[in-house]
Amino acid sequence: MIPVVVILAYLALIAFIGSVAFKKNREDTEDFFLASRSVGSLVFFLSLFATNMTAFAILGSSGQAYRQGIGIYGLMASSSCLVIPLTIFFIGTRLWALGKKFGYQTQVAFFRERWECNHIGTVIFALSAAMLVPYMIISIMGGGTVLANLSTSSATHQPLIPYAWGCAVVAVVVTLNVFLGGMRGTVWVNVLQTTLFLCFGAVAVAVISSQLPFGFSHYMHDLAANEKTRFLVTRERMPPQAFWSYTLIPLSSIMFPHMAIMCFSARRVSAFKQTVVAYPIAILAIWLPCVFLGVLGLAALGKIPDPDGVLLLMLQKYAPAWLAGVLGAGIISAVMGSDAHQVLALSTMFTKDVFAHYGGHEKFGERRSVHFARGFIVVVTVIAYLVALSLREKQGIFEIAVRYAFSGFAAMAPVMVAALFWRRSTKWGALAATLFVAAFLVWTALMQTSHKPGDVLWQLGQGQEAIRVFFLNPRGDVAFWNGFMTVAPMVAGSALCLIIFSLLTKPPSKTTIDKYFSVSSESPSQYVH
């Protein structure tokens, strides 16, 4: 009961912050979507981080560590420590400058002007939106699951907040926050949320270590000494090819619309300086304790039916009830921080890239555009909530969709790099890369549903010397060549399509190229050649 009260108080506080932000809002889209590009350095860092980190960073990481061991940290976290800050440094700062100079609020608005295209921008919008929607749905599902798990009574084994109510609470609080406060409300809340979940790991480790019957060292040496569990403290069951492939996944980060849109909101470019340096440390602060506790969970708790709940179980067993509530609020923070940005990003994209672009803005003006955006937020959250309820048992499908969305966004990174740094790139190159990514995703989904693990999809040669180009790995995912993940051929294929079709087609006009690359016009891309 106590954890539930703490969490509900926290959710009420978030809704309140949204209502305060509402009073500060002006009724124009730049203010609603980007807080008038006025986000200061510390808030910018905390918000960008909250945007990027989902509940997976806490629950999924510990669950995966419980199943696969310490390698999960290198696989998912340490590669992000390098690649995400690099993309923010090289791409985020340039996006910010373009937004400031030309008033862009979305990536697609930039692509449309950069490549003098109209409908091709809409194709990029459609693919981005399609890849973002499952992510948003799974955030609500995650929120419902977490609230149900945290509120489950150990006596009755029944949740005080059932899954459907948990989803509803998360959806309503996120909607209120975004609907009322827009970007301003969202980033204010992020300050609280990120602070909470940054503290989560250290506090959880400290509390659990003080309650365990033996020290950490005892459990870790036990795991290492046992042949059956040794793989958890090494990477002996982790294919090096998959480990390397994962280093490409963080390229997706800057291509996620909610991350790119956040980059437009900074007041000064100097906000990026502290962000890129602090980012790896923040990832370390969250992921290291979660991965460690996930591995420790097997030694301390033994076999459990739902590995993703390992951290919650450890908290329930080893932390006092009020602290479990605060830490639970930390987990909910991670869920809602990113969910709010996803909802806001979808609304921004739909309002600016579709509604305004196809005449809505001219016809209805700024004020009505904000009303449209708010209406869109309500509609999209209600739909996501209904989907989360009706397809709960199909959560696995959404999880797969999200996994492929990461590969899809990573494969769209060459499009952004070309737009910023390659003057010869063309709209046809961008279209070819986008269609390649979309086709590859559809093909992968089809193959995965129509084949079973171990099936070869395409091979070169026959017999023992045959090379498996595409096949389904034991987990049932499509794999490439020697066990590389599909993100590798997707990034390479997308870049290749972009280069070939750009070279084969007419470049944008000189006026446009000068607009973005001329030294005299102080283009944001002039510093990298």
């Binding site: 290198g74 976290a77 440094f89 910010w96 400058a97 000064r268 470019v269 340096v277 440390i281 370390l284």
Partner: protein, 73 residues
């Protein structure tokens, strides 16, 4: 030019260091008595990534973006 090349090499070196094949099958030594070496290595890698970003901010920051930002005030 040399500075740029050195920075590129530094980034590539850190990227390559992510694939620490020498720790693949080892749990020992346990750092601080409880952190398997593979996990401790990647924790240190995260700190190295932060250090690299600090170097990039110090030596390769797109100063012109900042100056243009100031002049537009």
């Amino acid at each position: 030019m040399t500075k740029k090349l050195l920075l590129v090499l530094l980034i590539l070196a850190l990227y390559a260091a992510h694939q620490d094949f020498w720790n693949w099958r080892q749990a020992e030594p346990m750092i601080f008595g409880f952190l398997p070496v593979g996990l401790a290595y990647h924790a240190a890698y995260s700190i190295a990534a932060a250090a690299l970003m600090a170097v990039l901010v110090k030596t390769a920051w797109p100063q012109e973006l900042e100056e243009r930002d100031k002049s537009s005030k």
